[in-house]
C-alpha cells in the first residue's frame, strides 16, 4: 500500500489487512463512521476504547499498532455497539478478530486472559473457585459449606476446547 502514517512512519500491514477483510469485509466496508458505537461504549469511559477508530484503522491496515496495544482487550463485550449500529455492522467482531491475531502472533496478552484459559482447562470454569469470608471473618470453602466438589474436566473436554480455540483463529 502507498499509505504511511507520518506520525509513526508505520505502514499498513497488507497481509493482515487482506486476511481480516476476507472474513469481516461487510463489517468494515459498511461502517460510515457516525461514532454512535463510541458514544455508547461501556469501555470508553474507563479505558478509552474507541470502536469507530478501530474500525477505520483496521480497514486501512494499521493492524499492528492495534494488536500490540492493550486497547483491544478492554472491550467488555456488552454488544451495545452491535445492537445500535445504524449500518448493522459489528465493531465487536472486529475486536475479537484482532484479539485472535494478537494471540496467533504471540503479542502481549493481558495476564487475566491467559489465566482464564488455563483455568478453563483445569477446572472447566472461567472463574477461579473462591472462598467466602463471612462477617465474622470466617473463611468458608465448598467443603465447609457442604457443597459437592467440582469435578475436573475430562481429557476429551480439554482436546475439544483447544480444538475450538484453533478453529476460531482467523
Amino acid at each position: 500500500m502507498s499509505l504511511v502514517d507520518l506520525m509513526s512512519m508505520a505502514k499498513p500491514n497488507e497481509e493482515m489487512r487482506k486476511k481480516i477483510l476476507q472474513k469481516l469485509h461487510e463489517e468494515l466496508a459498511y461502517c460510515f463512521q457516525c461514532a454512535k458505537c463510541t458514544s455508547g461504549c461501556t469501555a470508553f469511559k474507563l479505558l478509552e476504547l474507541v470502536p469507530h477508530e478501530i474500525m477505520r484503522l483496521t480497514k486501512l491496515g494499521f493492524i499492528e499498532e492495534l494488536i500490540t496495544s492493550e486497547i483491544i482487550w478492554t472491550c467488555a463485550t456488552c454488544l451495545k455497539c452491535v445492537e445500535r449500529c445504524p449500518q448493522n455492522v459489528s465493531p465487536y467482531h472486529v475486536i475479537i478478530a484482532l484479539r485472535n491475531i494478537a494471540v496467533k502472533q504471540e503479542a502481549k496478552i493481558p495476564e487475566a486472559y491467559l489465566k482464564a484459559v488455563s483455568q478453563i482447562l483445569e477446572t472447566g470454569l472461567a472463574q477461579t473457585i473462591e472462598k467466602v469470608t463471612t462477617k465474622k471473618m470466617e473463611s468458608l470453602d465448598r467443603q465447609k459449606l457442604h457443597l459437592p466438589e467440582i469435578k475436573h474436566p475430562t481429557e476429551t473436554f480439554r482436546t475439544t476446547f483447544l480444538k475450538i480455540l484453533e478453529e476460531h483463529e482467523l
Partner: protein, 659 residues
C-alpha cells in the same frame, strides 16, 4: 426472402471495449439474407441513423437488425429511424449487446464476442419473420383523478384544472393540505408554510374544474389508460358540507376529548371538530369511534345538535359510493414520518420532552397547541438547551437504508427558529453524521445557522437517559475533538425521516402500481421516466415516489400534470400494436386464456353462426401484450403479435444450431 441489414454499435467503448464489433459485423455478413452489415461508433447519433436510412434505400432493405443497447433504451428511436426511410417500424429487431453481453462479461472479451455473434444470429432469424404492424388509436376521457390533497396533489390539480381538464381530487383526511399544512416555516427562505399553502387550498376549493372529495378513499380501479373507471367511497362526516359554516360552536359543546391528530397528539380536540385552523373545506366532522351518540345510540348526548345554528349536523348520513370515469390518474398519496418509538434507546414515547421534528413544527406554529411558543411538552416551560439528533430511522440499515433528504434542512430550520424565538441564551446542539445541504440556497442556509451560534457536534448519540434534575442526558462522542460529551437538555428533537405510508400495500394493489425495494411507489424509470408508473395512464407526484422536500414535490407534481396533459390533450392516442389475436376457427372456447389474463382483457363470447360455441375475444385496449394467453392456449388459437411462436422458435433454433 427479405433483404436484411445488420448494424453493430460500438456504444463508445461500452460495447466495443469488450466485444470485437468488427468481427461481429463480418460474421453477420455470412448469415443468410443479410445483404449489408456494418459497425459504427454511435448508431443512435444523427449520422448513425442517417447511415441506416441511406442503406434502406440503397440496398432495398426489408428488415433491419440493430445490435446495440437494450431495446428499452433506443427501440423507439430506431423505429422512428426506419419509419422515416419508409420501412414499417415493426420490421426492426434490436439485439442487446450491452446489458446482456458486454457489460455482463467485461472480463471475458473472447467469449463475449462469440456470444455477441450468436445473439446477432438469433436476431436475424427473428427479423426474417417479422410482420408489419400498425399502431392502434383509442379515444380517451378528458377527466383526471388526483389521489391525495397534499401540496403535490394540490399543485397537480390546479395545473390540470387551469389547462381545462376536469379534476377529481380525492383526499382521505377531512381537509386538504397534507403534511405541508402542519409545518411552521419552510426552508431555506423561512416563509410561513400556511401563507403560501392556504391560498392554493382555497383555489382548489373554488376552482370550477375541480371537484373536491374529502374524507374519501378510492376503493376500486378498473379499465385502462384513457378509460379508467374508479369507485370512490365517501365516508360520512355526519355534518352537511353545504350547511356547516365552520363556526366551531359544536366543538366547544362536545364533552368527548380525544388526542388531536393534526397537532401530532400534543393537544386535545373533541369528537366533533374542524380538522385544522386552515381546513379546506372548513367543515366540522364527527369521529364515529369516539362520538357518544354514534357509539351508544340516539338518546345519548346530542349536545352538538342543540348548539348548531345552521342545523348542519346529520347523524343519518351514510357512506356513499361515487363512480368516476377518468382518462388518467395521478397518485399524490404522500408519505409518513418515521415512528421513533421503534428505536428504544432514544426514549421517544418514554420521555415526554423527546419529540419528533413534526411535533416541533406544531409547537413552533402560531396555530399550534402552544400558540407558537416553543415550550417543553412535559414542563410547559421554554427550554434552556435543545439537542437535535439527525438520521433517526434513515441511513439506518435496521429501518430505512436511504437518506431522508429533508432531515438536515428541517433541523437547521428548526434550530434557527428556536434561536429566533427563544433568544441568544438558549443552547442549541445538532448531533449529525453528515450535514446534507444540497438544494438551491441550502448551503447558504447552513451558513446562516452557523452564524446564529448553533453548535454542530459530529457524532450520533447512542442513547438518551433522564438525569436526576429532570433534564435529558445526551451522551455523544464528538469525533472532531475526540471527546465524549454529555449534554443536559430540556428538549430533544429527533430528526425523523420520511417513510412509505403504511397503506402503500393497499394502494399498490388498487392501482396496480409496483413498489421499489425501499417501499415507495415505483416509477417507470429512475432517471428518464420518474413521473410515470409501469401502468399506462397512472402517474406519481410528490413523496409517494421517494422522500422529497416541498420544491421537489411541487416540481414533480407539475411534471406529472404535464404528462397527463400530453396524454389526454388530443382526445385520443396511439398504443403499441403488441396484442393477442384469436383465430376463432381454432378456438375451442375452453376459457383458459380468460382465467389467466392479468389484465382482464379476454371475454368469452358466443359465435354469431353457432350460438352454442364459445369463442375468446381480446378487448384490444385492455390487452398489454404480455403473451400469457398465447402460451397457455392448448389449441394455438392465440397469436401474440410481434412475438409469434414462429418468431420465437426461429430464434431458439438459431441459438441451438452449430456454428
Amino acid at each position: 426472402m427479405p433483404n436484411i441489414g445488420v448494424y453493430v454499435c460500438h456504444c463508445g467503448l461500452n460495447i466495443a471495449g469488450t466485444v470485437d464489433v468488427e468481427r461481429v459485423a463480418e460474421y453477420a455478413k455470412t448469415l443468410p439474407d443479410v445483404v449489408v452489415a456494418k459497425h459504427y461508433k454511435y448508431i443512435c447519433s444523427e449520422p448513425g441513423q442517417r447511415m441506416i436510412q441511406e442503406d434502406i434505400r440503397a440496398y432495398g432493405l426489408e428488415r433491419v437488425v440493430i445490435a446495440a443497447c437494450s431495446p428499452r433504451m433506443h427501440e423507439e428511436t430506431f423505429r422512428k429511424t426506419v419509419a422515416e426511410a419508409g420501412l414499417n417500424p415493426y420490421l426492426l429487431e434490436v439485439v442487446n449487446l450491452r446489458e446482456h453481453c458486454s457489460w455482463a462479461h467485461s472480463d471475458q472479451p473472447e467469449k463475449a464476442t462469440e456470444k455477441a455473434k450468436e445473439l446477432v444470429r438469433m436476431g436475424v432469424a427473428r427479423a426474417r419473420l417479422l410482420e408489419p404492424l400498425e399502431k392502434r388509436v383509442i379515444s380517451v376521457e378528458k377527466n383526471v383523478l388526483v389521489v391525495g390533497g397534499g401540496i403535490a396533489g394540490i399543485e397537480a390539480s390546479l395545473d390540470l384544472a387551469n389547462a381545462g381538464f376536469k379534476v377529481y381530487l380525492v383526499e382521505k383526511a377531512p381537509s386538504i393540505g397534507g403534511r405541508m399544512a402542519q409545518l411552521d416555516k419552510t426552508f431555506p427562505t423561512l416563509d410561513c408554510s400556511a401563507c403560501i399553502l392556504t391560498p392554493k387550498m382555497v383555489d382548489v376549493a373554488k376552482h370550477s374544474n375541480i371537484k373536491l372529495l374529502t374524507n374519501a378513499e378510492v376503493t376500486n380501479v378498473s379499465g385502462f389508460v384513457g378509460n379508467y373507471e374508479v369507485t370512490v367511497l365517501k365516508k360520512p362526516r355526519y355534518v352537511d358540507e353545504d350547511k356547516c359554516v365552520g363556526c366551531g360552536l359544536c366543538t366547544e359543546a362536545c364533552p368527548v376529548k380525544i388526542p388531536d391528530k393534526f397537532n401530532e397528539g400534543l393537544s386535545q380536540t373533541h369528537a366533533i371538530s374542524i380538522y385544522s385552523p386552515h381546513a379546506v373545506p372548513k367543515v366540522a366532522i364527527i369521529n364515529p369511534e369516539h362520538c357518544l351518540r354514534l357509539k351508544y345510540g340516539k338518546e345519548v348526548c346530542g349536545r352538538c345538535l342543540k348548539t348548531c345554528e345552521a342545523k348542519a349536523i346529520n347523524f343519518e348520513q351514510q357512506p356513499e359510493n361515487i363512480q368516476l370515469k377518468v382518462g388518467a390518474i395521478i397518485l399524490a398519496v404522500g408519505a409518513d414520518v418515521f415512528d421513533a418509538a421503534k428505536i428504544p434507546e432514544l426514549g421517544y414515547g418514554r420521555f415526554k420532552n423527546v419529540i419528533s421534528n413534526i411535533q416541533f413544527e406544531r409547537i413552533s406554529d402560531a396555530s399550534g397547541p402552544t400558540g407558537g411558543k416553543i415550550l417543553c411538552p412535559e414542563t410547559g416551560k421554554p427550554p434552556r438547551s435543545i439537542v437535535f439528533i439527525q438520521c433517526v430511522g434513515s441511513r439506518d440499515k435496521r429501518f430505512h437504508e436511504y437518506c431522508c433528504r429533508v432531515g438536515c434542512m428541517i433541523s437547521l430550520k428548526q434550530a434557527i427558529l428556536a434561536r429566533e424565538k427563544l433568544g441568544g441564551d438558549v443552547e442549541i446542539y445538532i448531533c449529525y453524521n453528515d450535514i446534507r445541504a444540497f438544494g438551491k440556497g441550502y448551503e447558504e442556509f447552513y451558513r446562516r445557522a452557523r452564524d446564529l451560534n448553533i453548535n454542530f457536534l459530529a457524532g450520533i448519540p447512542s442513547e438518551i437517559r433522564s438525569a436526576p434534575d429532570g433534564s435529558l442526558c445526551v451522551t455523544v462522542y464528538e469525533k472532531v475533538v475526540n471527546k465524549l460529551l454529555e449534554i443536559h437538555a430540556d428538549l430533544v428533537v429527533l430528526s425523523c425521516g420520511i417513510v412509505p405510508r403504511k397503506d402503500f400495500n393497499k394502494i399498490s394493489e388498487t392501482f396496480h402500481v409496483s413498489r421499489s425495494s425501499d417501499g415507495f411507489l415505483l416509477e417507470a424509470h429512475p432517471k428518464l421516466r420518474p413521473l410515470e408508473t409501469s401502468t399506462a395512464g397512472i402517474f406519481l407526484a410528490g413523496a409517494c415516489q421517494g422522500p422529497k422536500d416541498i420544491p421537489d414535490s411541487v416540481a414533480h407534481a407539475s411534471g406529472a400534470a404535464a404528462k397527463v396533459i400530453e396524454l389526454l390533450s388530443k382526445g385520443e392516442f396511439e398504443i403499441e400494436p403488441l396484442k393477442a389475436v384469436v383465430n376463432p376457427d381454432f378456438c375451442s372456447g375452453c376459457g383458459i386464456c380468460k382465467s389467466i389474463c392479468p389484465f382482464d382483457a379476454i371475454e368469452m363470447k358466443t359465435e354469431t353462426a353457432n350460438e352454442e360455441k364459445l369463442v375468446a375475444e381480446v378487448i384490444e385496449v385492455k390487452c398489454q401484450g404480455c403473451g400469457a394467453c398465447a402460451s397457455a392456449c392448448p389449441t394455438h388459437a392465440i397469436k401474440m403479435q410481434h412475438y409469434t411462436d414462429e418468431q420465437i422458435l426461429a430464434q431458439i433454433h438459431a441459438a441451438l444450431i452449430a456454428k
